[in-house]
Symmetry: C2
Subunit: 170 residues, 2 copies
DNA sequence: TTGGAATGTCAACAAGACTGACTTAAACTG
DNA sequence: CAGTTTAAGTCAGTCTTGTTGACATTCCAA
């Protein structure tokens, strides 16, 4: 199985991609690619008093305007104390607006302000530019495979969240 | 361009995958998949006094036995102070051995001990299991695409490092 | 009206990254 | 050989982001 040779089954299915060596390459590809993935927004954020956590909050508030704190908590997978620290600075700095819920006044609905949208735009422009270049270089078939593997790598719950977001968009 | 419809060029090339919405889905896929990618080793490490940084060090020392501290620094992309903290505990706990270089006595060459190999095995077994399942579900073509896109997403320097490691393996 | 849920806040803490300054030892170089 | 550079390690301090635990407030719903 880990003899380094390509293996072909009766069906013609290449099993080389399941050797430990191939899996390790996949693992390292994820590690190095994720660094590239976050590098551009990180550079922008480094000049401000913000970090990756702020980027994530701003991204998902933009993606799902009016989302509740609890919903955002589930998406981000952090504790409310951790999110609250980030959210507080964003609200103080006038990037995020928190509106008391109409039907349920316990809930807070989160929205980006004009300044919030400006930051979100800068960050996602940078991140999208890299993603666009990678997608273009790799071609449509590779992109489809990329997404298929990533989806298969998610936990079931995360996958559901991802699907829900996907369906809500465009 | 961002009208939500599939676009086909003369060459028959589907350009839908370059819409902002598709790029955003790619970004979110990376975010959620990376969480899954690190979840299993993180769970194992949580029970010990170790974290993700220890995992990374152990992984790359296993991958490139005898690597110098400087080389590891370049691979991991952190400061020597940050790496040193992690490396010190690993050496103290007898998981990593540091040997003075033969030709250049300033250098330290890093190796996993038996215990180090045991931990590395546990961690990478867990991570490989998820990767293997994802690869199997997605199929060989998807896996090839996955790797193509990830490679295109890396910074040039990281990509060189990744290639060097890849060639040194199997 | 009482219990539980959603939110927020305070405090304390830890991992893991960072900068800057400095030491030691070894190797290279003019 | 003297001076400089390189590799590694250390000390001190800071920052972001995560964690627990305890507690208050508000308000919906049985």
């Amino acid at each position: 199985m880990d003899d380094g040779r390509a293996t072909t089954t009766r069906g013609g299915e290449n099993l080389l991609f399941l050797t430990d060596e191939q899996l390790r390459q996949g693992i390292e590809a994820m590690f190095f690619a994720y660094r590239g993935f976050t590098a551009d927004p990180d550079r922008i954020l480094a000049d401000m008093a913000y970090g990756r956590a702020h980027h994530r909050a701003v991204h998902f508030i933009n993606r799902a305007p009016g989302t509740t704190v609890n919903n955002l908590l589930n998406i981000l997978g952090v504790t409310k104390q951790s999110l609250n620290r980030v959210l507080r600075t964003l609200i103080e700095d006038g990037l995020v607006e928190s509106r008391v819920g109409k039907s349920d006044k316990r809930e807070r609905h989160l929205f980006l302000t004009e300044d919030g949208h400006a930051l979100e735009g800068r960050l996602s422009d940078a991140q999208r530019a890299r993603m666009r270049a990678a997608f273009r270089d790799a071609g449509p078939e590779a992109v489809a495979g990329f997404r298929t593997v990533l989806e298969a790598m998610m936990d079931t719950e995360m996958h559901r969240t991802y699907q829900r977001l996907k369906e809500s968009g465009a």
